[in-house]
Subunit: 631 residues, 2 copies
């Protein structure tokens, strides 16, 4: 965490000094704004927290409820989400509070007595080490709290405008604020009254029954399956021995349970199989009472019993799988002819079962993907055409999610005798864990994703996938750090230079590259950094040397990685790294060429490009695709 | 973190439900209270955070300042303090914010050119692994903020009463609130007016010039040394390459610098040697201007230069070493004849140089030591005689601190030619690190510290030293956890049973002990738990089995370690542990006898006793020394 460089900070450094629109932000919803976010769910608050990092942008978030969400439905937090929390500055706090999911056990009918269940398999979560971050379970309300706090503490001081419901919108073609949005007051004085506000951009984070989606004429494709589930968050006494372990429990005749332990050590969630829904049921299954769900759970758990003492939340639902055809207001036919002004994120785009624990996670990534793009366009760093990449990138991810979830949900609903072996379900779970952990996303080449010409120079950094951190030693203070954990959601691009073999001060490809980067007219740093901005305002340039930290002489590293910043023009020492032999050599860990390589990482932590240190023109050309020249 | 067991918690689980005096706590300072803490420095806020965990106790904290401290002087946080922060629930947050001190370098005059300094030694902080917690540097104001937050979020909802200055006190012999304290208003309406309040106990955490100390006639023994130092927290540009590393820098002719990098990546502190103070100086050295300190620093650093751009704080001081003869109002002659009612903590008891980074740390341990004793006495768990152990335990620690600090300060002030070798200072630093890390404290046998009869059964748990955590696996959820990190500052005693070899469900010494503990009339749990209280209200009983977690059958562990708690009588599953082979077998790591052993740990995390599982009478007798029978 870096601070004090604008002068001494006495209080919590997580609270950034207010700047720009954050200084005199109107307390009430104004008539005009740059961005209007509709809905404060996981996608909306992520977007808000990101836009609060751009104090030049006036963003507002309207929410129908009169205040904070009290009980949320989602609870699964994949490792990629924790990585995202790290970028927004609250990972350590939510990690301390959440349940850590480290194992999943599988129970099936006892072959000796099929009326009873027995444990047939134990599996380890993240058996292949896809992430250094944990897999967590915590109530969605807390996730929203942390993002809301990050938004309020950002320089833009973004706080939700509660009590406003979305009614409709029209996209005009004139003026600075072309989108006219009608809102209705849901609370307090003037409840029920409507008003029209105007925005440059509108983002619908308004859930599965999204009004914004409907207003832009997008189609939500798919349907219900014929299977119903009861879900309940309960405090109960049971003799089932794995009650604090995630379990898939299959009974012989009564269907299955997915058991999820929850934060705090006592609460747990059960998804209880309510069986096939007969044709023409017309939602009648949704009137199943809680007592029936508890009875069904007791039947499935035999010989164990469940004595429910308190219920925090419960519901009945039929599994639905739907995905929207496009995530912005520009139809497929018009794509490329005009820039989008309305977007949809999260459940507004994709709905599916809860059991793979994906919904909230994918929604946050929708918000993270769109947030920096809006910020970059609205601050003049990129042209508005960048915004078309949001739908292009995220629609495919949503489709993959639906496909994965359909497979997982149908396996969970299968009868024990339909599996080839008692281990089949567990084996599927272990084999496919990279997907639910959130790391299978790989964006295709575009103006912000390069081609794989030089991929062989950094085999551990697949272009289009998120930058996987590894440990290095910060030279200035001999601190072992996870390099990627210092990538904050501050809207900046990262250029990670992995140096060639010569030490600091010796002639090297890295030294030449760094000198070019700091001074050449065609350097992306020189071209894209705003006049008067700190030299690291757009690009955070870091180097990892192949030497140990004692062998890197700070007096001889290039100025590009010892930039002067802030009003006192102090040296930033947190750009220069060495390998950490205690953690495995970084170059070996990530398959990095010892002749040196540059890994370009987007503000949302995805690897944008891999290039040799000598490919200067290609680096400039790639970044010039999406970034505007600033002078 | 355990919660939800009294029903669903929607918001931050760190905020405990208000209880007892926390429910209708008077906003203004009342006339009578159980405990009056004078001063909101490190000792005072630690004590406040601890007493907020006892909602039956009405404690108040008065502070002369009108509000929060803006800039503190202390900044060194030893690992023992971070361990304490963990107990108070905010370690992960302050760790994320602080500078991590991992190395210390030593610079001495260059033999080839003594006018210039050269690096002669690099040392690693905590080379011997005394703690799994880091050594941090962060402004004292932030430490106070976190403790104040913990106090406000505790069930007692303790918030400081700002704007009250201590004037004097008298200890009476009559009534429930025998101590009459005169306070003066320092701010707002009625500034300058005095009032008298009455308390059962008063604690002076009012610093080196403590009025409480004076009021009880304690003597502060020792004096100034003849050496002066300038200290400054600065933002500066320098070519000194180790500016982000802790360094001891000795010049040939201009004295020395102790350099401490600070949180945030830019700020650093320098203690600059201002030389011997001539006799009869009468504090004139304290008028040394900042510019002279900066000039002196530049002379010491040659050939490097220091260009100071901004100064957060600076001061000049002469090293003093003083310790108070006793830390309560009962004179040595009267000890044992009456119970103390007034205590002093922190700088009121011990003052010394800042350079070993000890003051704030030892002060917090003073507060932690006294806090649970006051809580226990005021809730009727122990007799008031327990309070005499505070001075008995902490006065010796303070004396050790003064002795260590005097040695370290005089070594720092020595001239290079007075050392046997250039490495002598660095070697001393590495060799003695357990002391400044805060782990050399070892309390002597008393009513709360047992004798070492069975010490050989747990060689890694020296009686009287703090319980050093190790990793185990929580059986119920297969979570690898640091056992000691779950010891919260909740006023409870811990009984850690390390089981003998038989597995759960087999006949074993542990099973017999656990059954006795749960039900026998002479069991300490049965005797000392208040009627109607949860079975784990006074003792948190945990077991570590010698098996792996898969081989511990939760259905067959004794009920003493699967207690039913809270209004729903839910099972607490966080008491049963297994070894973690990935982290080294716990029994081997801590020298535990495989025949089983009980380690008794006090509420302030110190090992109180080590006993075999069969020594039931001795366990009962030991705990009966300080705990009262509840029925």
């Amino acid at each position: 965490m870096q601070f004090h460089h604008h002068g001494y900070v006495s209080a919590d450094p997580r609270v950034a000094p207010a700047a720009g629109t954050g200084i005199d932000r109107p307390a009430n919803l104004p008539d005009e704004m740059d961005v209007l976010i509709v809905g404060s769910g996981p996608a909306g608050v992520t977007l808000a927290a990101q836009l609060a990092q751009y104090p030049e942008v006036h963003a507002r978030l309207v929410e129908r409820r009169p205040g904070r969400l009290e009980v949320g439905q989602a609870d699964g937090i994949q490792a990629r989400s924790v990585e995202t929390f790290q970028a927004f500055g609250f990972a350590e706090r939510i990690v301390a509070e959440a349940f850590h999911l480290t194992a999943m056990n599988f129970w099936t009918p006892d072959p000796a007595n099929p009326e009873h269940i027995v444990r047939t398999q134990r599996t380890v979560d993240d058996a292949f080490g896809v992430s250094e971050f944990p897999h967590l379970i915590v109530n969605q309300a807390r996730v929203l709290d942390y993002f809301a706090e990050a938004a309020a503490n950002g320089p833009g001081r973004l706080r939700p405008d509660y009590g406003w419901e979305f009614v409709g919108l029209e996209v005009g073609t004139q003026g600075e604020y072309p989108v006219a949005v009608t809102l209705r007051r849901t609370t307090g004085d003037g409840v029920g009254t409507e008003r029209v506000v105007h925005a440059r951009y509108v983002v619908g984070c308004d859930g599965a029954r999204s009004g914004v989606r409907e207003a832009i004429g997008r189609r939500h494709l798919g349907g219900q399956s014929a299977h119903a589930w009861g879900v309940m968050d309960v405090l109960a006494v049971t003799d089932f021995p794995d009650i604090r372990t995630k379990c898939a429990i299959q009974s012989a005749h009564d269907g299955s349970i997915l058991l999820i332990p929850r934060e705090g050590g006592f609460l747990f969630r059960m998804y209880v199989d309510l069986g096939e829904v007969p044709e023409g049921d017309n939602g009648k299954v949704r009137t199943t009472p809680l007592a029936s769900i508890v009875d069904q759970a007791n039947r499935i758990l035999r010989p164990y019993t469940l004595d429910v003492r308190d219920v925090a939340w419960w519901s009945v639902y039929e599994v639905g799988h739907r995905v929207t055809d496009k995530f912005d207001d520009v139809s497929v036919a018009d794509t490329g002819t005009r820039d989008p002004h309305v977007f949809i994120c999260g459940d507004a785009c994709h709905t599916h079962s809860a059991k793979a624990g994906q919904g909230m996670n994918v929604s946050m990534q929708d918000g993270f993907n769109l947030g920096w793009k809006l910020g970059q366009v609205l601050t003049g760093r990129s042209a508005p055409s960048l915004l078309a990449t949001y739908s292009a990138e995220r629609q495919e991810i949503a489709q993959n999610l639906i496909d994965f979830d359909r497979e997982w949900a149908s396996m969970m609903a299968r009868r024990p005798e339909d599996f080839a072996s008692p281990e089949e379900l567990g084996d599927f779970y272990v084999r496919t864990q990279e997907f639910p952990a959130g790391f299978m996303t790989q964006y295709k080449p575009s103006e912000i994703i390069g081609e794989d010409t030089y991929q062989h120079l950094a085999t551990g950094y697949p272009i289009g996938k998120r930058f996987k951190s590894a440990r290095a030693v910060r030279v200035a203070d001999a601190n072992p750090v996870h390099l990627g954990h210092h990538h904050r959601a501050d809207g900046r691009w990262r250029l990670y230079a992995f140096a060639d073999a010569p030490a600091s001060g010796q002639s090297s490809a890295f030294a030449d590259w760094a000198e070019w980067l700091a001074s050449a007219p065609d350097s992306p740093v020189v071209r894209h950094t705003p006049v008067g901005g700190d030299i690291d305002a757009v690009f955070d340039v870091k180097v990892v040397y192949q030497q140990r930290h004692e062998d890197v002489d700070l007096a001889r590293v290039p100025r590009a990685v010892l930039p002067r910043v802030g009003p006192f023009q102090l040296v930033d020492y947190e750009k220069v790294y060495a390998v950490d032999p205690d953690a495995g050599d970084y170059f070996d860990e990530r398959g990095l060429d010892r002749g040196g390589v540059v890994v370009v990482v987007r503000p949302d932590q995805y690897v944008a490009h891999v290039l040799p240190l000598t490919a200067r023109e290609e680096l400039s050309a790639f970044l010039g695709r999406s970034l505007l020249v600033q002078h």
